[in-house]
């Protein structure tokens, strides 16, 4: 499988605070890779670093073989990356439909609006809603994911997409991740809800104190239960 993302010795800072201390990870085409870890372990900062959204970075981030560590955010996105942030970032001054249609095309083969509405039927019903932020939390999360599927992005960075959502919505999101994987998307999932991530991911990275503490693949999951209990308290 071709390597889509390779991160080596990644360090990142917010002002004076040193957050990432030499992260190394790789993601192959078509994989779902999950970053596990407690709050503050550096998982969100890792995704933001890939997008160039942290103040200072050092090390190496290669996307499709291209070194991007010194690139501005908009240029990184054009390598075919779709980013869904933890806070969802739905724009209150835009309608649901405007939010969905906002991101520009950054690659070939994006999903059509009809395909997206088939995948997220709630959004079809609510598309004329005047303000994107008037949607429920679950609908906003779906909108945040849906809008990056239109753009032709093939590497999706999804940050805590189940946070604060009802179990029925979480299950729906799980089914959507499976469908996206079947369609060939490569997904990096930052998740605290281990039960959600466990059946979806091909490989797992466990982060602690801004570093990768452990890595294992899905078949090894059962043998790592005790270790996960220590790292995550699950």
């Amino acid at each position: 499988m071709a390597e889509v993302l390779r991160i080596e010795h990644l360090n990142a800072w917010y002002g004076e605070s040193h957050i990432l201390h030499g992260v190394d990870l790789t993601v192959n085409q078509g994989e779902v890779v999950t970053l596990l870890g407690r709050n503050g372990s550096g998982r969100t900062t890792t995704l933001k670093s890939i997008m160039g959204l942290v103040g200072r970075r050092a090390g190496s981030i290669r996307v499709n073989g291209q070194e991007t560590i010194s690139w501005p955010t908009h240029k990184v996105a054009h390598l075919g990356i779709g980013y869904c942030p933890e806070e969802r970032a739905i724009f209150s001054s835009l309608s649901v439909e405007e939010n969905l249609m906002l991101p520009p095309q950054i690659g070939e083969g994006g999903m059509s609006v009809d395909e997206i509405y088939d995948m997220f039927p709630n959004l079809r019903e609510r598309r004329k809603t005047a303000q994107g932020t008037k949607l429920s939390g679950g609908e906003q999360q779906m909108l945040a994911m849906a809008r990056i599927l239109r753009t032709g992005a093939h590497l999706l960075l999804l940050d805590e997409i189940t946070e604060g959502l009802a179990p029925v919505i979480v299950q729906a999101l799980g089914r959507i991740i499976v469908k996206l994987k079947e369609r060939g998307f490569t997904i990096v999932l930052v998740e605290q809800n281990f039960r959600f991530a466990a059946p979806l991911a091909d490989r797992f990275y466990v982060m602690e104190h801004g570093k990768i503490a452990e890595t294992f693949s899905a078949p090894e999951l059962e043998s790592k239960t005790q270790l996960l209990h220590e790292y995550l308290g699950v």
């Binding site: 996105a77 942030p85 724009f91 249609m101 906002l102 991101p103 520009p104």
Partner: protein, 294 residues
Amino acid sequence: MTEIFGVPTQALFGQLLIGLINGSFYALLSLGLAVIFGLLNIINFTHGAQYMMGAFAAYFLLNKLGLNYWWALVLAPLAVGATGVIVERLMLSRLYKLDHLYGLLLTFGLALIIQGAFRHEYGSAGLPYSIPEILSGGTNLGFMFLPKYRAWVIVASLAVCVGTWFVIERTKLGAYLRAATENPAMVQAFGVNVPRMITLTYGFGVALAGLAGVMAAPIYQVNPLMGADTIIVVFAVVVIGGMGSIMGAVITGFGLGVIEGLTKVFYPEASNTVIFVIMAIVLMIRPQGLFGSR
């Protein structure tokens, strides 16, 4: 002679027209300020000086290059907008990570430098700029005399305001601008070059000031202090309309121009202060402005 509320119609409609003319300039200038504040979060105190630069650019184009008013309508906003792009790239862009007060101080300082330089070179008496021939003269409507140039200014500024509103509220480019106002990092993560968009937006806002300056030149003459006199009222208009609100800037600009004109008819003593009285009342009742949301 026909009278309304004891006032001759000629006088009433004459002042109403002056109110609409002033309102046109208030709307154009506050529109530029609103666009800049909306995206950059900077209160552009240089706006008055940039309005004056537009008038001077028209004057230079006519007297140095022989290019008439219609050329000036296109070239002067482009030239003044280009100076705005340079100011944003060289100076303002270095201040975005600091408190907004620094942007205000920088633009205030720039305004003083620009006005001082023009005043040093050209004095403060004002330079004449004649009305283009096709727009000279006027029409007697029966109840009032309507000068053609003033009618043109009202129609043209209304068209520019509506056009700008349409672009910002109804187009994809406008959606990027509105989204970047809320969360520039996220818009950039979608692949939009937000720093360039910010530069061009500032340039566009400044170009609007330059355009207002060209249109004002035949009415108020070309004077280094023309912007300083107007900008204080324009800031009051922006505060009343709501900082960053496009529609608020346009409606309030025209509305307050008319109110100011009518005050000149019915209670002239208050005509210079009426806008500031309204600002004080609005700030007490609705601090975010009539059309503002934050």
